[in-house]
Chain length 424, copies 2
């Protein structure tokens, strides 16, 4: 049980808000600290976001992507976990308020509340687009797709209206991986499931505003990604943006109208609005600027991390992107720094280590760009992708089940997760 009563022990209290990569990374680095660690999230689970698109395409299960926070950090001796929603932070009084949990005072605060999807003001997107940032987003998209196919199976007129067409917005890793997963779901699984529906009329289109997909990759990989998607029957529209969205139509900046009942938004994030609501002044994209030690200016006890933070790269001074690896490294750095502060040891500024980028496109198709510019594509890159993602999964049980699902899909082309279970 949490409480606002003063801590009975002399241990300083570290309050972590948010159980994503940043919050969990910080908590895990504090496991051996002489501290009372409290982690709060509005859900009881951590979301392994790099695999959300595989949940949306029915390849993995909900529990492959959502992991109990009590498993991840709650079993540490010095750590407790509570499920609650933050309603206010008073950095002067050093206290946080929640919806139905008593206020908690802190000695150190870790603010890692993540982001929300940024539709960049695109007309209709907030109401009709399917974003891909949270676990419910992925489940909702999967259910919607299964229901569209079942509806088209009952009424072929839906197909003519673009009922099965998908437009994916954003040529970054989220958009490319999602488009690749969707075309694989359509062409391997749904082709068998719905033999009477002509596959060629169910289109997956990837729209990217910039001149090419994968702007963060080497040119060789950009071309590879475009070719791999095109070979898999994805229509790639670069240099084009989405102007507006309705439930059944997508209007492009050029004025062209695509018939599509599903628009997946893989384009952008902004910091959680909680930052603003708790009186912090966010910068561009609603992110909160921090110093090189990841703390709020004037508050060396307040660390702001992950997607909600605007962290400048130590070398280039450019703001780091909202990636899981940035979140995890900033979380681990903050946890380590707080441990050092409590132990009276010297601290170090944060320096992000870019370990490279990777993206899976489909069966036998992936890209890896390592630090220094080395690249891999094809089956070798897919193997690297699988190895890295298995290593990142939290438990052996998770790994074993992911192997069963990935191997099952490779061998039988079967995705057991593609059913739609609506709980009222």
């Amino acid at each position: 049980m949490a409480s606002s009563e003063s801590s009975p022990s002399a241990r300083p209290r570290v309050l972590i808000l948010g159980g994503g990569f940043a919050g969990v990374g910080a908590a895990q680095k504090l496991a051996d600290a002489h501290a009372e660690v409290i982690l709060i999230d509005r859900h009881d689970y951590h979301t392994f976001q790099p695999l959300l698109y595989q949940l949306a395409s029915g390849l993995l299960e909900t529990t492959a992507v959502g992991h109990s926070l009590r498993d991840l950090v709650g079993h540490q001796d010095n750590t407790t976990v509570h499920q609650a929603t933050v309603t206010g932070v008073d950095v002067d009084a050093r206290e946080v308020r929640f919806d139905d949990l008593a206020p908690i005072a802190y000695d150190y605060l870790v603010l890692a509340l993540g982001a929300e999807v940024d539709f960049f003001g695109t007309e209709g997107a907030a109401d009709h687009a399917f974003p891909m940032y949270t676990l419910p987003h992925a489940v909702r998209l999967k259910d919607h797709l299964v229901e569209r196919w079942e509806a088209a199976d009952r009424d072929p007129a839906l197909l003519e209206d673009g009922g099965l067409n998908i437009v994916v917005v954003g040529g970054g890793p989220t958009g490319v991986e999602t488009a690749g997963a969707m075309t694989e779901l359509y062409r391997s699984e749904f082709a068998k499931d719905y033999p009477d529906i002509p596959q060629e009329q169910a289109r997956v289109t990837l729209v990217e505003a910039g001149p090419e997909l994968f702007s963060m990759f080497e040119p060789k990989l950009r071309h590879y990604a475009t070719k791999a998607l095109t070979d898999r029957d994805v229509d790639v529209l670069a240099g084009e943006r989405v102007a507006s969205v309705s439930p059944t139509r997508v209007t492009l900046g050029s004025g062209a109208v695509l018939n599509a009942h599903t628009l997946i938004w893989g384009a952008g994030l902004q910091g959680s609005p909680v930052g603003r609501s708790i009186g912090l002044a966010p910068e561009r994209g609603n992110r909160i600027a921090v110093g090189s030690d990841l703390t709020l200016p004037g508050h060396p006890e307040v660390f702001v991390l992950g997607d909600i933070a605007a962290i400048a790269d130590a070398k280039t001074q450019q703001v780091l992107p909202q990636l899981g690896s940035v979140a995890l490294q900033s979380g681990e750095h903050a946890g380590d720094t707080i441990s050092r502060m409590i132990a009276g040891r010297r601290t170090k500024p944060f320096a992000y280590r870019d370990k490279g980028t990777m993206a899976a496109i489909g069966r036998g198709a992936a890209c890896v760009q390592m630090l220094g510019g080395r690249t891999m594509t094809g089956k070798k890159a897919q193997f690297a992708w699988i190895t890295v993602h298995l290593a990142l999964l939290p438990t052996n049980q998770d790994r074993a089940k992911a192997i069963v699902d990935w191997a099952g899909a490779a061998v039988t082309h079967q995705r057991s997760g593609r059913i739609s279970v609506r709980v009222d």
Copy 2:
């Protein structure tokens, strides 16, 4: 695509309503028949009901219990699957109407629409009890339990009010397996997850109206089940019934009031009301009486199967219980009979083969009663239970993942499925 237009081939059309054990059993037996088989269910999945309680207790995942009907039967050459809800059956015109699918004419009809929970008029039960018959029921119960524990973690007063207490109604296999699974969830997993909550104040109570649990088992097994549950800290109340239910209180027939925010109803079923709504006259428990060939009197082309049917045992003439094994065997018999009719071969009356009964109670505790009265208990019975249930699962992928989950739970006492993911 389904249609009411006349079948272009000369093959007779077999229309199967319901994708449970009976409907799927019938469809699978028709795989090689010279027939056009159409299976319709209101969901896109088949529910493996014997494992629902393991989904509710966070041990298995949704997709371990819900299996795509298109995988199970849709990939048969002569079979198509549609997701739709039956709105009317005209047995004289030989046509079925649906909510948003064109009417379908049939040559043979298999009516296997299952059951609904029967609360026997218990006051408040329809509004406040958690039944355990469908996949959404199990998910809803799991989410509710996790949310109760998270709420009690925030506010200990909930514990005093019985917020974590569970009352399970019904001393048959569903009730006993559910009570066993719940106490295991509480005492192994939640004890670790919520170390500040005193476990002994979170009670699981099993209420059975008859004098003993497991009336269908040998006396030896009845005593074993009661002792196994009691040893696992379940309060067993035999000879007691539930009179009324509110969201936080359960009133017994004796007038005693139990504080409990969760009442799980494992007590009884009645045939789907669809039978009545489509003009068939159901018998006791809303079930439709059939002849020894499982057909509707006067309609040798209409088979009524599974939980919606009142099937008399060939030997005792007693109505068979609403069990998965009865549903599966009746479905297979009907599929086989229709195949024979189409091929002009002789048909046989249905004879249910009771292969015995089994129930899992907890780690190392299960009961098996084989035909002829031989019994097994303890680890040996648990092993038999696991073997039989693995064999019943539809695919190797399902088996592999169930083994991972069961072994994971046995070794680490960890249930990855216990998170609550609400999709709005």
